[in-house]
């Protein structure tokens, strides 16, 4: 297994003179799932986009294996990102999407046999939950060094969430995974390193009590 390290630090991002992220350090590595929690609007998704390279912060330093990268998405085979909203054009056929993402369709069917009947169908023929699941799976199975999952468990039924968690635990042996979601129990289950973003800064979370102390949950 090749060990890859992704680091992002000195991330500074502001919108309308309001600092969203000001003192953030992220380290992800092969074999580990790095989880992020935080209130709505605290900058989790912005941080994910800054790391991915689709959003430019006022300042940031993103390094892949100690090498500075101005935009990670331009580095072939480096990273894939599951955004919060559905992102694959609905008129594309499932088979065509698998070809573009270089993920064999059979690998998806092996994980979720429910997709078998959709091979020749357009993505738009699937239900909202199935689309979300398909997008999460295709990103998760991509042959890249790192993946970012922004709210992968939203709109997915509990049985599939458990299966997705199993996949995350298995896939982390081949790639580093950064994940964020409001379903914090699931995030705590799958994360090896967990951080909370508050007031633009990252805080290491070790126990459930840390989340209470930071005011993220009540009890």
């Amino acid at each position: 297994m090749t060990q890859n390290i992704l680091e992002a630090d000195s991330v500074y991002l502001e919108y309308n003179n309001r600092a969203i992220l000001s003192d953030v350090y992220v380290k992800a590595e092969t074999g580990k799932v790095t989880g992020f929690l935080g209130r709505n609007g605290c900058g989790k998704s912005s941080l994910m986009k800054v790391i991915f390279g689709s959003l430019k912060g006022n300042f940031q330093s993103v390094r892949l294996n100690k090498q500075y990268q101005p935009s990670l998405l331009l580095v072939s085979g480096a990273i894939r990102y599951l955004p919060q909203k559905s992102f694959i054009p609905k008129h594309l056929r499932i088979e065509q999407i698998c070809e573009l993402f270089q993920v064999p369709f059979i690998n998806i069917v092996n994980e979720f046999p429910v997709f078998e009947k959709y091979q020749q169908q357009k993505l738009g023929a699937l239900s909202g939950g199935e689309i979300r699941l398909f997008e999460a799976v295709i990103i998760l199975l991509s042959d890249v060094k790192f993946i970012i999952l922004d709210e992968p468990f939203s709109h997915i039924m509990p049985l599939h969430v458990e299966k997705l968690k199993e996949m995350i635990n298995r896939e982390k042996h081949q790639k580093g995974i950064i994940i964020t979601d409001h379903l914090y129990k699931h995030i705590m289950d799958v994360s090896d390193d967990l951080y909370l973003i508050r007031d633009g800064k990252t805080f290491k979370i070790n126990t459930h009590d840390d989340l209470i102390r930071h005011g993220y949950i009540l009890e």
Partner: protein
């Protein structure tokens, strides 16, 4: 990877070409009728491309940009490439019309 990027660019172009080609055909028809002032038509097309760029950047299927980014194409580059391609087609056909 080049093949995949080309496929992705074609997918995006197919989604925008109904707008850009409609404008082009309108301009071609007018040019064909009067056969005069080619630079005026090039200028008109450029203006529509600027408006199209604004539409593509902020309104047209903006949720789908991560799809192209996941395939290694940044959104600004995607838009510029598409509009460049569309403009090139326009110039070629405009010149061909002189032969008719």
């Amino acid at each position: 990877m080049v093949r995949i990027k080309t496929q992705a660019l074609w997918i995006y172009y197919k989604s925008i070409c109904p707008f850009t080609l409609l404008v082009s055909f309108g301009l071609f028809y007018t040019y064909h009728q009067f056969h005069d002032g080619k630079s005026l038509f090039i200028f008109s097309k450029l203006l529509t491309l600027i408006l199209t760029a604004i539409m593509l950047k902020f309104y047209h299927r903006v949720d789908e940009f991560p799809f192209y980014e996941n395939l290694g194409i940044k959104q600004n580059r995607l838009i510029v490439l598409m509009l460049g391609f569309d403009f090139a087609i326009f110039i070629i056909i405009l010149n061909l019309l002189d032969l008719l």
